[in-house]
């Protein structure tokens, strides 16, 4: 079902899991796009290990981007008014992760809804979680 308006939303409605692109090249390009070019942590597994990381990382803001993208993919008419993410543990480049969300509150009068968000790695461990508030058309 494509969600278009407030009446299409239901408490507990789940979205995902969706598998985003976590390839090293994408992580590196994302870091470059925001000007984070002076560290190997996003561009090179070996260099990242030398910096003390378990491998090259997916930038946290790309993780936030995955969550924004999931919302827009599943609820094309939603406008994200607020998104708050907690970087619980690093997302590693070249390792799959899954992105999911669930509606936790609906305010029909205000035309808003709240979602819980999370990104899990292949072991099922939550790496990033958060919440979002979206505004919907009537």
């Amino acid at each position: 079902m494509t969600i278009q308006c407030m009446a299409d939303l239901e408490f507990g409605l789940e979205f995902g899991p969706w598998i985003p692109d976590t390839a090293l090249e994408s992580a590196s390009s994302a870091a470059n796009a925001v000007g984070w070019t002076n560290s190997a942590r996003f561009s090179n597994h070996e260099g990242a290990r030398k910096e003390g990381h378990p491998g090259a990382l997916v930038p946290g803001i790309l993780g936030m981007g995955f969550l924004c993208a999931l919302i827009h993919r599943e609820i094309p008419t939603a406008r994200i008014e607020n998104i708050d993410t907690v970087f619980r543990a690093p997302l590693l480049a070249d390792q799959h992760c899954s992105v999911a969300a669930v509606i936790t509150n609906i305010d029909a009068a205000q035309l808003t809804a709240e979602l819980d968000l999370h990104i899990r790695n292949v072991a099922g461990e939550t790496r990033i979680f958060g919440t979002a508030t979206i505004r919907m058309p009537r």
């Binding site: 796009a33 925001v34 946290g60 981007g65």
Partner: protein, 147 residues
């Protein structure tokens, strides 16, 4: 152990940094496309309603920005998370202003010691001082000597 209430009294809500910047539409669109975004207003710089991708706004508040006289807590700050509040669409390619203050300071204690959380907030506005968005960056510092 640092007194969090003292830090709050001294530093909360005091602007400590100002910046002027222009966001490249192509850079924001690149990040949106890499994230798998499907909405054209974020991925196509030529779209009539193009605006900066929320996750790109989050990057603007990145960095270990603290007031210059903020005391050392001992540990190395790590990026604990980001938040973005959208008030109005943020345009690319035009001058914007960022004003940053510490929005929240709190601590959590665990078995391995106490963690101090510092939330810095950048208020993003246009040159007419119309507030467009808020970008929060949450830094986490493990206090030394409290384990």
């Amino acid at each position: 152990m640092v007194d969090v209430d003292e830090l709050k009294a001294k530093y909360l809500h005091l602007e400590f940094a100002r910046s002027n910047f222009v966001v490249s539409a192509e850079n924001s669109a690149t990040l949106a496309r890499l994230a798998g975004e499907t909405r054209l207003q974020y991925t196509e710089p030529g779209h009539p309603d193009f605006e900066i991708f929320p996750a790109y706004l989050a990057s603007l508040s990145a960095g270990r920005h603290l007031p210059i006289d903020f005391p050392s807590l001992g540990g190395i700050p790590v990026d604990g998370g980001k938040a973005v509040t959208s008030i109005l669409p943020v345009p690319a390619g035009v001058p914007l202003k960022g004003r940053t203050h510490l929005h929240d300071i709190y601590a959590k204690s665990g078995r391995s010691g106490r963690m101090v959380f510092l939330v810095s907030r950048m208020e993003i506005s246009d040159l007419a001082d119309t507030l467009l968005a808020l970008a929060d960056s949450r830094m986490v510092i493990r206090e030394r000597g409290t384990a």
